[in-house]
């Protein structure tokens, strides 16, 4: 298979059970909480860490195959890597840093190529500066140019945006989005920021304690996580349990009973009537009913109750609705601040919302039911 293929297993010292593939030109985001093994996996791909068992291949080249005793040394793998700290050589200029990765070229060509790369990352003219004389964003660009200098078979980015301020980060996002069109190698981006993954990646691999939980299109993984554990990792707060009442082929809905409420969900034919299920509705798919003008949409999974928590966060508000008569069931939703104002949303107020049926996603009940309670 072309592109990057990774399959890793190890119990200690860092538990790993990860497998994923990344096609040429694809940007794959490895996402998960800190300490989840993301950077370790990147180091394994680059050859900087050797796991007990695993296989890493790029196109037809095998970089690691513990079963066959193959482990190519890092300097012989064409892997470009941008570290979180950028790891620029402090005693070399920007050009020197890039040239350091071009030592296979004759010196005249090396300088030429390094200057080309510097222009590619919009740093033309700053080549003689040392890393200490460059801003965080400029340092990151030098690191990217250095990683690309070897014409790598794989580009590895280890949280490359975490050390710059927000404005610089947004500019660098744009630059990466433009530059990636020219890149023909698999790109693996390690991040703990889901928004970053959503913006930059073609696919997302969710990682927890060294284990790959789910691999798919970023929006799919975020809105349709395969398990409750994955749902928790992608920040879904509205996760509940219920029982399948009916598979309604006419309306194309799966009907579930949620503590006495009838909920219409997107069709999930793999569950049978009577099955216990976990289900979620994304916060953005909980619609507040207008007090003054009830609309047709209010018939879609209406839930009413009392607002138990109401927080203003800049220009949006986050509210928690305690379902009528059930203080153990709470739905979190967000509305723009002016909508909250107009509808007199506030702690202690009555409110009703609709849960959009097509966005309601069903998952198997986890073995440890308390993992739902924790949410």
């Amino acid at each position: 298979m072309t592109g990057l293929n990774v399959d890793l297993r190890q119990d200690a010292p860092i538990p790993l059970d990860a497998r994923f593939a990344c096609a040429p030109g694809e940007v794959l985001a490895l996402v998960g909480p800190s300490g989840g093994g993301k950077s370790t996996i990147l180091r394994i791909i680059a050859g900087l860490y050797r796991p007990r068992a695993g296989r890493v291949s790029v196109d037809d080249e095998i970089w690691l195959d513990s079963a066959k005793g193959i482990a190519v040394a890092p300097h012989r793998r064409a892997a470009g890597i941008v570290f979180q700290s950028y790891a620029l050589f402090p005693h070399m200029s920007a050009i020197g840093n890039i040239s350091a990765a071009l030592e296979n070229l004759p010196s005249l060509k090396r300088r030429q190529r390094a200057e080309e790369l510097l222009r590619l990352v919009n740093l033309g003219g700053l080549g003689d500066r040392r890393p200490s004389e460059l801003s965080g964003g400029q340092q990151q660009r030098v690191a990217v140019a250095r990683a690309l200098a070897r014409e790598p078979r794989v580009l590895l980015l280890d949280e490359p945006f975490s050390a710059v301020d927000r404005r610089t980060r947004e500019r660098l996002y744009r630059e990466l989005a433009i530059m990636r069109r020219r890149l023909s190698m698999p790109v693996v981006l390690v991040t703990h920021d889901l928004t970053e993954a959503l913006m930059l990646a073609d696919s997302l691999c969710l990682l927890h304690r060294g284990r790959t939980l789910q691999h798919g299109r970023p929006l799919d993984v975020m809105q349709r996580p395969a398990t409750v554990e994955a749902a928790r990792l992608v920040g879904q707060r509205n996760v509940f349990t219920g029982t399948v009442v009916k598979q309604d082929s006419d309306s194309g809905h799966t009907i579930i009973d949620w503590s006495g409420h009838r909920i219409e969900a997107a069709s999930a034919p793999r569950f049978r009537t009577g099955d216990a299920v976990a289900w979620l509705v994304p916060q953005s798919k909980v619609l507040l009913h207008r007090r003054d003008r009830p609309s047709r949409g209010t018939k879609e999974n209406p839930v009413s109750g009392v607002i138990s928590e109401h927080v203003l966060l800049g220009d949006i508000t986050v509210s928690v609705l305690e379902v009528e008569g059930r203080d153990d069931l709470a739905i979190t939703f967000q509305v723009p601040a002016h909508v909250a104002d107009r509808n007199r949303l506030g702690a202690g107020e009555h409110a009703s919302v609709s849960l959009l049926a097509q966005a309601i996603h069903l998952m198997p009940v986890p073995d440890e039911p308390e993992s739902i309670e924790r949410l």
């Binding site: 680059a46 300097h75 402090p90 990765a101």
Partner: protein, 222 residues
């Protein structure tokens, strides 16, 4: 002024630095980056001359190099002269008692290089040897410079070990430190004063040059 003793001291210092530089780089780098069985013991052995009284170090070296020991006997058989009370024996002793002054600053110098820099160098396609030359040595340079200066200065000033292993043979093992002591014993305060002043001057110049150099390197790399 005992020029012969001064020249001998300078020669001993220079040779000690010359031999200990590569050894210190290898040992300091291994202690900084590698984990191996008995690393703690190795570190303790390297640091031992720092805490042992010089006469004790000298006594054990005298026993180790003496005609009754395998080393002493082999040396005698190979070169037809004893290892103790010779310049070669003095140099060997100097290498051993200077180990901590050479190895420890270099170890700190290598330890100060962030791991990601070495990793980045490998990912730039540099072989381990190239990483050492292009990244590690230039960045560990302040440590290496400190080690060289400390080793040289310490060799010039060492007294106890030199006296025990080398004795006091003019032109062969009599260093300037011993010559000063000798002059004082002979109530030749004028010579002792001149030689002490010269050593003081040399030491101040060496330290000043080192500080200036490491500041310049520090400014360049920060």
């Amino acid at each position: 002024m005992d020029w012969t003793a001064l020249f001998l001291s300078l020669q001993l210092g220079a040779l000690t630095v010359l031999f200990l530089l590569p050894l210190g780089v290898i040992a300091g780098r291994a202690l900084a980056y590698r984990d191996f069985l008995g690393k703690g013991l190795a570190e303790a052995l390297v640091a031992l001359p720092l805490v042992l009284p010089p006469t004790v170090v000298g006594y054990y070296l005298l026993v180790l190099f003496g005609a009754a020991s395998p080393i002493g006997r082999t040396w005698q058989a190979l070169y037809g002269q004893p290892l103790v009370f010779s310049f070669e024996g003095l140099l060997l002793a100097s290498l051993l008692f200077n180990l901590p002054f050479a190895v420890l600053p270099m170890q700190r110098g290598f330890e100060a290089i962030p791991r990601e820099l070495r990793d980045a160098a490998a990912c730039c396609g540099m072989s381990p040897w190239r990483v050492l030359r292009r990244v590690e040595l230039p960045l560990a340079w302040p440590g290496i410079l400190t080690a060289s200066v400390l080793t040289f200065a310490h060799t010039l000033g060492e007294f106890g070990v030199v006296l025990m292993v080398g004795g006091n043979i003019p032109g062969e093992t009599e260093t300037i430190a011993i010559s000063i002591y000798d002059r004082v014993q002979a109530f030749d305060a004028a010579s002792a004063g001149k030689m002490s002043a010269l050593l003081l001057f040399l030491s101040v110049v060496t330290i000043a040059v080192t500080f200036a150099l490491s500041r310049r390197i520090g400014r360049k790399s920060s």
